[in-house]
Amino acid sequence: MTGKGFLRMLFGVFKRFVMTYVEDFRKGKKRYYTKEGIESRRKADVQGIFTIQYPEEKLPVPEEFRFLPFLVYDEGPNGEKDLRCTSCGICAKVCPPQCISIVRTNDPVTGKPIPQPKEFYIDVDICMNCGLCAEYCPFDAIKMDHDYEIASYSRQNNIYDIERLAKPVSYYASIRPTNNAAEELARQEKEALKAAAKKPAAAESAG
């Protein structure tokens, strides 16, 4: 019969429409504006409506999500900020659009470089969020952020400096718990190895 295929399509659309209300009825208030409601609407077996009511609802981002780099600092006992960055420049070299520029600190007496950045800039207008800087940083000092709501009215302040880039390691641990734990573990192992290598040497020299 001519028109059967067309009706079948319309039926498909209509079914979806009805399912939205059926699901609303079944799940009640839990379907919207709750964590499990959002999760249930992005599952593979979702029925009916699929969309998220942004900005009232937000999709949770996975741990690997990346948006703009930031610098990690360890908090000292007196609240001092100890940047992990050693200004080795690998991030500036690997950056595809070359949006990172670093000024290295030099010792005022000897003129030799100190592992501490004097200035650190990221032009976030140019940054393409590729995450290569975070991937290849040997000191886990630069990481990718999760905060994607950074729209502003002006482009004038879009070159971020150290003040704006530095974030505590506790923040990093909160957005990337698994990564942070793995990195901490690797660091501890490395230090243990170092200590183990040092001990026999010290014993030898003593003996």
């Binding site: 077996d45 420049g89 500036a92 070299k93 690997v94 070359q98 670093i102 290849y136 698994t178």
Partner: protein
């Protein structure tokens, strides 16, 4: 099936057959044959007619500035499968003239225009050698090695100004407006008359005019800003009544000279840039580029990485094809409801990409010799749920809703027919080629990665119209699902990277052409290395770009309303067309 059965005939040593006219390329790391420009036409004709190399896949140029030579590189294939036959023509830089292959292979049409535009190689005998990606007011040929852009800072990245004495400041403050453009000598933008446009309109008007009946044709511009063009794309059509008698696409509105950027970048820095080509299927782009560089480096990724790669590539293909059904409906006039349905499937795949790579669209996930990181916990279960339950069900839904739908059938059957001969000659690839009855799939014709071990069928349909293109994509999505089921079942544990991850890879001198069967067609990267950290030449054989060569053949003789449908069925992404 043993491996011998899959392998098609090897590339013949044609330097013996055409002795005196063809010599082997003996440079270290290079392959193929060097042909004199004066013998090119006869040899290509003989290769096509006698040896069966009927598919000219890629035409590009390389500027060897130190040697003062310009080289044109041709990649010829047999449409029954097998490895490439690479031909090269070397001409002096200052007088770069090469005979055009337009009359032998129409696929060379746009590619030769591109080589003329970007490299300044003149193709003698090409009937329409206009600039294609840039405009008339563009100074010089940007891919020549002595050409410098207005923002020029240094020949290669990383720039020295970034570290250890980093200079900051916005580039537009350093290069104020008006200082950042160059015009050719004697060019005044105020008094400029667009001659190429005039020529295009004049040639459009000439066609289809009947002198006896004094009928006239109407020239219509579709685009550049038009909801049906999937981006910024223009078609100049001449109409006889409602019938299209002439149609020429005009592209380049989104041109950013991807290849020049690529030559400034280091090898690794190019990886995120490849995402931006076909932004719907960035994983496939990563795949092709990684293959090309791995060929040069002579490394192979470990088993688990291969499986992850194939998984990502097939998810991309599935997603792209579903997306194209949504667009098909869009182009048929059912505005955006089916599109949203397609996007629903896409969102679920993108969730996986995001969990794996960190970004939904700009994945940047592949590395030379592996992938960036292992699958996070829970992702494999999500993929399993998708490929075993949702995907087959959704495909059946779509099949039910579209395949027998009267609107789809009436509009699509018999519309935009491309014959097998035309498709091969125009260099069409992917579903466009297979819908015309040519069972050419690179995953089978010239297998890469682990595809030779997977069970799947090469989808082929024979009518070459829009409906068959749709069916090809539908069946291919099913095959992608089938591959995915095997992959998630068999994926082994193990390392995901060969060697240590390095931000500066060492690539030995030589050339390589890596190609994959992307969702849109043959995606190839031609890379020439001179042993330095940056590629000397970085060329993208973009399937969307070359598939558009066939657009005129599809549209001519049809109604103007079907042009929109034909363009949608070619399945282009303008990020890849304009590069």
């Amino acid at each position: 099936m043993s491996e011998e059965q899959i392998t098609v005939a090897q590339t013949p040593d044609i330097s013996l057959q055409y002795e005196g006219r063809v010599v082997k390329d003996t440079r270290v790391g290079y392959s193929g044959f060097i042909v004199g420009a004066e013998h090119l036409l006869e040899i290509v004709k003989s290769l096509r007619d006698e040896l069966g190399f009927d598919y000219l896949s890629s035409v590009t140029g390389v500027d060897y500035l130190p040697e003062g030579k310009m080289e044109v590189v041709y990649h010829l294939y047999r449409s029954i499968g097998g490895p490439a036959l690479v031909l090269k023509v070397q001409v002096p830089r200052d007088e770069a003239v090469v005979p055009s292959l337009y009359h032998l292979f129409k696929s060379s049409d746009w590619q030769e225009r591109e080589a003329w535009d970007l490299l300044g190689i003149r193709f003698e005998g090409h009937p329409d050698l206009r600039r294609i990606l840039t405009w008339e007011g563009f100074a010089g040929h940007p891919l020549r090695k002595d050409w410098k852009e207005p923002y020029f800072e240094e020949e290669t990245k990383p720039f020295k100004s970034r570290w250890p004495e980093g200079i900051t400041g916005r580039i537009e403050d350093k290069n104020p407006y008006n200082d950042n453009v160059q015009y050719p000598h004697g060019f005044d933008p105020e008094t400029w008359v667009p001659q190429a446009e005039e020529a295009l309109y004049t040639s459009a008007k000439k066609i289809g005019r009947d002198e006896e009946l004094h009928t006239d044709t109407i020239v219509v511009n579709l685009g550049p800003q038009h909801p049906s063009t999937h981006g910024v794309f223009r078609m100049v059509a001449a109409l006889d009544g409602e019938q299209v008698v002439f149609l020429k696409p005009v592209v380049g509105y989104l041109h950013r000279n991807h290849e020049k950027i690529g030559e400034r970048n280091t090898y690794l820095q190019n990886m995120p840039f490849t995402d931006r080509l076909d932004y719907v299927s960035s994983m496939s782009n990563n795949f092709a580029y990684a293959l090309a560089v791995e060929k040069l480096m002579g490394i192979k990724p470990p088993e688990r990485a291969e499986y992850i790669r194939v998984m990502m590539a097939e998810l991309t293909r599935w997603m792209n094809h579903i997306f194209s059904f949504g667009f098909l409906w869009n182009d048929l006039g059912s505005y955006f409801t089916p599109m949203i349905y397609a996007l629903e499937e896409r969102e679920l795949v993108l969730d996986i990409f995001e969990a794996v790579s960190g970004s939904r669209m700009m994945c940047n996930y592949f590395r030379f010799g592996g992938v960036a990181r292992d699958l996070p916990e829970g992702v494999l279960d999500k993929v399993k749920e998708l490929v075993f339950e949702r995907m087959p069900r959704r495909l059946d839904d779509i099949d039910k809703m579209l395949t027998t739908n009267e609107i789809v059938r009436n509009r699509c059957i018999g519309c935009g027919v491309l014959t097998a001969e035309q498709a091969i000659n125009n260099g069409a690839s992917g579903p466009n080629l297979r819908a015309s009855g040519v069972p050419y799939d690179i995953r089978r014709a010239d297998p890469y990665s682990i595809y030779d071990r997977l069970n799947f069928d090469v989808v082929v349909h024979y009518h070459g119209d829009v409906y068959d293109r749709y069916l090809t994509r539908l069946d291919e999505a099913r095959q992608a699902n089938r591959i995915l089921q095997q992959v998630v079942r068999d994926i082994p544990e193990g390392p995901i990277m060969t060697g240590k991850p390095a931000y500066q890879v060492r690539v030995p001198a030589g050339e390589a052409y890596g190609r994959v069967e992307g969702p849109k067609g043959e995606l190839g990267f031609y890379i020439v290395s001179n042993g330095k950290p940056n590629p000397w030449r970085y060329h993208v054989r973009a399937p969307s770009f070359i598939n558009l060569t066939s657009l005129e053949d599809m549209c001519r003789g049809g109604k103007i309303a079907d042009v929109v449908l034909n363009l949608g069925a070619v399945d282009i992404v303008l990020g890849e067309v304009d590069r």
